[in-house]
Each structure stands twice: as structure tokens, then as C-alpha cells.
Amino acid sequence: MVSTTTATAPPADPLATAREIVGTSSLDEKSLRRFLHGLPGVDQVGAEQRAATLGTRSIKRESKAWALELAVRMVDLTTLEGSDTPGKVAALCAKASRPDPFDATCPPVAAVCVYNDLVGIAVRQLAGTGVKVAAVATAFPSGRASMRVKLADTADAVDAGADEIDMVIDRGAFLSGRYLQVLEEVAAVREQCVRPGGEPAHLKVILETGELATYDNVRRASWLAMLGGADFVKTSTGKISPAATLPVTMVMLEAVRDWRAATGAMVGVKPAGGIRTAKDAVKHLVVVNETAGEDWLDPDWFRFGASTLLNDLLLQRQRMASGRYSGPHYVTLD
């Protein structure tokens, strides 16, 4: 019953699963609200305590080497600045495919994540490396645009060859209770990810948890994104603080765990923003392992959206390999 394929073509009726899970023949505002508000609540204090306790786990030396390597492979190396240039993206792509110039055994990262006007250059730079290209779309980061613009934005990225689309939900619609609108936007973007004659682009749905205020909302938004057909749920744009935190990631992992229990399908999780150290990354992996289980310990199902994290992971890899503490001049600037 466990699906381990990474991408399935969208079914003829993309919202069939959603209707089944929600238990309604026609999805409307009322039935969605009833479903989302019927999900178990999250007690903030208890959730944060649990995450903090997991953060005190220490892992074995061999496992730590493996975990660092895994974390590197899970990185979506990201640049999302107004000042991004083709040159900057090209440099980032070079680093993504060979993160540690001193160590050929270092695996490439999972993906490079850029704005959609830079997708083309990234695709060219990364051809044949196995590193995916992810594009942020749907009027990232605010999501404040018409549906027409959001879909066009997505189409641009897909047409330019993006493997993955990181969309934002309309937090305003979510917070004002217009759940159907959020669901329909996700579903529409998902349809836009379809590439005639090719694999559809993977859809990562950014909840922007820092704007959702409560863990209850994080859980509801996660379910809403999954109902809409998300392949991944992602915490943040990186433009809002707080971004990814350990308890937020944990709550989202609980959601994908429960989604699999309900549907048999796996959905990935991507914390993004705020994870800067190898130690933080390993704590996240512990939470993945204990909350969703080891099936999720794979770049297909868990990613880190990060920029500076990669260098710290590399420093720690070097330290483990050499037994010496390394320094910032032994890794490359982005």
C-alpha cells in the first residue's frame, strides 16, 4: 500500500481523493471547514516539548556521517534575491553538482531553487548532473496576484524546464477561512505542472507557517495542500520569520504520516529557511525518523530549503573525515 514512486500522473479527476477523505460528494466551503476543524488539535506546549526532547538525541558516529551525507543530498540550494543574476545562478549550480571541490566523494544536492526567470540557465547548467531545478512560482513570496497570473507564472517555469514547482498558498484566503479557494488554487497549479509527453513537475506547496500563527493552522494547511494534490508540503518562503522550526516540521511530518495512513500515499516535507547548521539539520532528521519513520529519510521525501546550511554540512563532513575542525576558507562562498 506504500507508494514509493516519486511522481504519478495526476488522475483524471484530481480531487477524487480529496472528496473521499473529506467524505463528501461535492467539495464545498462547509465540508472542508468541517473536515479541517475536525482534525485533532495541536497543543503548542506539548508539541514544542516533544520536539525539544527529540533535539537532545545524539546519533552514532557512522550514522552521523551518513546523516550528514543524506542532509547534503536533501538540500534544495536556494537563491531567491532580487539581485540574482545568471552568473550567480551558474555559480550556485556548479556548487550544487559538486558541493565540495576538495572532495569528489561528496554527493550533489537535491535541487537548485530559483525564481522562474532563471530556470532556463539553471536547467542548462545542471543538465546531466541529476540535480533538479526547482522554481518558486504563483507570485512568490506573497501570493498576492490573480489566479491568472499565478497560473501563468507556473506555466513559465514548467515550460522553462523546472522539475519542481514551489508554490505559495494564499494565506489571506486561508486565514479568512476560504479553504475551498486555497484547495482549488493548489489543484489548479498542480494541473499546470503537467508537461505534455513528460513527467509532471513536482508540486511543493509552501504554507508560510510563520504567518499561520498556530500549529492547528499548520496542520490544517498541510491537509489542505495534500487534499489539493501536493507532492510536498513546505514550511516557508524564507522571507518571513519565523521560518522552519523543529516543532513546525514535526507537525507537518505528523500530517504526512497520517495522510499515508488514510490514503496509502506518501507526501514529502520540506522545511525551508532558518536551518543553518549541520546540528539543526541532524535534529530535523531525528524528528523525521521518529515522527514519520525512516521511509521519509530520503531526498525524494524530505528536503531542506537552505543556502548557508550546505557549507556547515560540508565543514562537518570535513571534520569527520579528517578529525580536525575545519574553517570557512575550506568551503566555497555561494
Binding site: D43, Q44, V45, G46, E48, A213, T214, Y215, D216
Partner: protein, 308 residues
């Protein structure tokens, strides 16, 4: 008519058509009713000089058992009453006692061998003690409770709650004031009571029971047994559905045995107050604080996280 007055009128035999007084039958008070002892026994109660006053019911262990059942049944309602309401109910007892003041004065004077002005002061103090405790009902949780500043994101509150069914061995000497001093605080907290009255001076307690029956104290909240404390107390002390026992009236008994029996279900035990002569205190003074209320309270502490 009080027993003293009844005796007086009965002894006036000058006129043959003088009215014969209607005497009162002194019975038990259990579950809001006035039964005789299930044992059918009674005993002679005399005044301080040994003259006959009445035949009182001789409560038995089975009467005690029934009283505990009645008390337990009444507990949920009484504990659920608001503190404000309990205060009003207790104050009402004082009002009704005031109305029967003369009767209480007669009974206390006869039973305790006091002159009427002395007995009057005792009855006044007893009435005032009800008023004092009536005022405590909605204060005690504020005084004895607390909001606890724990080191973490938790709301944490401690409140006193009634222990449950309390067996009261009422003072032997101070048959009314002493009784009120041990009974009122138990009720103020929301406990229910099974009272063993003073063995030799039980009559004011029965009259108090009549006051309670006509007051707003629900039936079963107070149960009054007259009889031999030494005979019945061990049954209450060892009763597994009694939560606490006040040994105020056991100073003359081997109360260590009662305390030992009470250990079987870990009853809360209030020992007889130590006095210089080993006897009972006078109960005259207004208490220094709510210690007697809190003696039969449990502290409950509730935690809840504070979060979004």
C-alpha cells in the same frame, strides 16, 4: 416546650385541670428524617443534677452505617452548591437558631448545669459561630488556594476541596457550642457529616437537628446520632467510606485506638486538642483562622499548558 419547662409544668399539680405539657420525643436525625434507633434502644438523659430530662435514642452501629450511606448520598449535591449558596444556608441556620433561642437556653442550662444568663451567652456564641463560618464559605478558597508561578508555560492553580464524609465526635461537655464549633466548619467547606453527639448531653444536638431539618441544609448533609460515643465511634473510625474523623469528643476515650482504626483507609484524623488538664477546651473563643475548615479539605492542583 423545652424539657425544663415541661418538667416544671408537670410538677405543678395544684390545679387538676392545668394543661399537661406535650413532651418532645428526642430521635435521631438521618437522611433528613427523624427515625428512632433501628435497635429500638433508648437511654435516660438527666440534667446536671441527675434529674430526668428525656429518653434519648441510643444510636447503634447500624444507625451509624445508615447515616454514612445518607451522608454519602447527599455529598454530591452539597459539594456542587456554590460557596455563596452554602454561606446563605449556614447563615439561615443561625437565623433559625435565634428564633429558638429560648429552647436552646433551657436545654443548655439543664444539660450543662449553667444558669440561664450563662447558658444564654453560650447559645449566643453558638449562633454567632454559624454566622462566622457562613462568612467563610466563599473566602476559604481565596485564602487557602493559590496561583502557582511554576517555571514553565503552564497555568497552575491550587484550590481546597472538601474531603467528603466526616465523622464528628462532638465535644462531650460543650453540648451545643462545641458541637457547632466542629460542625459548622465541616459544612462550610462542603463536607457532609455524621455527628455523634455528647453522650450525656445530647438534647441540644437533637434540637439543632430540628433546626437543620427546617433550614435549607439538604437532608443527609448532617446526620445526628445520640448515644454512647464509645460504642459507636469505633464503627465510624473503621468505616471505609468515611473520609475523615474529628476526635474532639474523644478526649476521655482511648482515642489512640480510634486513630489506629482510622488508618485502615487513611482517614484524615483531627486529634482532640491538647489542653492543660487533658479534658476538653471551652470553645469560647472565636477561632484564630480557618484551621478547622482546612482540616477537612484536600488541596487540588490543576495544571494546564498555556499556548496558542
Amino acid at each position: 416546650m423545652s424539657p425544663t419547662a415541661a418538667r416544671r409544668s408537670a410538677s405543678r399539680r395544684s390545679g387538676t385541670d392545668e394543661r399537661v405539657a406535650v413532651r418532645k420525643t428526642y430521635k435521631l436525625y438521618v437522611g433528613g428524617a427523624f427515625p428512632r434507633s433501628e435497635s429500638g434502644r433508648s437511654y435516660v438523659v438527666t440534667d446536671a443534677r441527675g434529674r430526668f430530662l428525656a429518653n434519648a435514642a441510643m444510636g447503634s452501629r447500624k444507625d451509624a452505617r445508615d447515616a454514612v450511606v445518607a451522608a454519602r448520598a447527599a455529598a454530591p449535591g452539597w459539594v456542587a452548591a456554590t460557596a455563596y449558596n452554602r454561606g446563605q444556608v449556614l447563615y439561615r441556620v443561625a437565623e433559625l437558631m435565634e428564633g429558638r433561642r429560648a429552647q436552646f437556653v433551657d436545654e443548655v442550662a439543664a444539660g450543662e448545669g449553667l444558669r440561664r444568663p450563662q447558658a444564654g451567652r453560650v447559645v449566643d456564641a453558638a449562633i454567632d459561630r454559624w454566622v462566622w463560618y457562613a462568612g467563610w464559605t466563599d473566602k476559604v478558597a481565596q485564602v487557602a488556594g493559590s496561583a502557582n508561578p511554576v517555571a514553565g508555560p503552564y497555568f497552575n492553580l491550587s484550590v481546597p476541596e472538601p474531603t467528603g464524609v466526616v465523622a464528628l465526635l462532638a465535644p462531650q461537655r460543650s453540648s451545643l457550642l462545641g458541637l457547632v464549633c466542629v460542625l459548622a466548619p465541616v459544612l462550610a467547606a462542603g463536607n457532609v457529616a455524621v455527628v455523634l453527639t455528647s453522650t450525656e448531653r445530647p438534647l441540644p444536638a437533637v434540637t439543632l437537628a430540628e433546626v437543620l431539618a427546617t433550614s435549607d441544609v439538604p437532608g443527609g448533609v448532617v446526620n445526628v446520632l445520640t448515644g454512647d460515643t464509645a460504642e459507636v465511634a469505633p464503627w465510624l473510625a473503621s468505616h471505609m467510606d468515611v473520609n475523615a474523623i474529628d476526635l474532639a469528643g474523644a478526649a476521655h476515650l482511648d482515642w489512640a485506638d480510634l486513630e489506629r482504626a482510622a488508618a485502615e483507609n487513611l482517614k484524615r484524623v483531627l486529634r482532640p486538642a491538647p489542653t492543660a488538664d487533658g479534658g476538653e477546651p471551652t470553645w469560647d473563643a472565636v477561632p484564630d483562622g480557618p484551621a478547622r475548615i482546612l482540616a477537612f479539605c484536600e488541596t487540588k492542583t490543576v495544571w494546564h499548558p498555556k499556548g496558542l
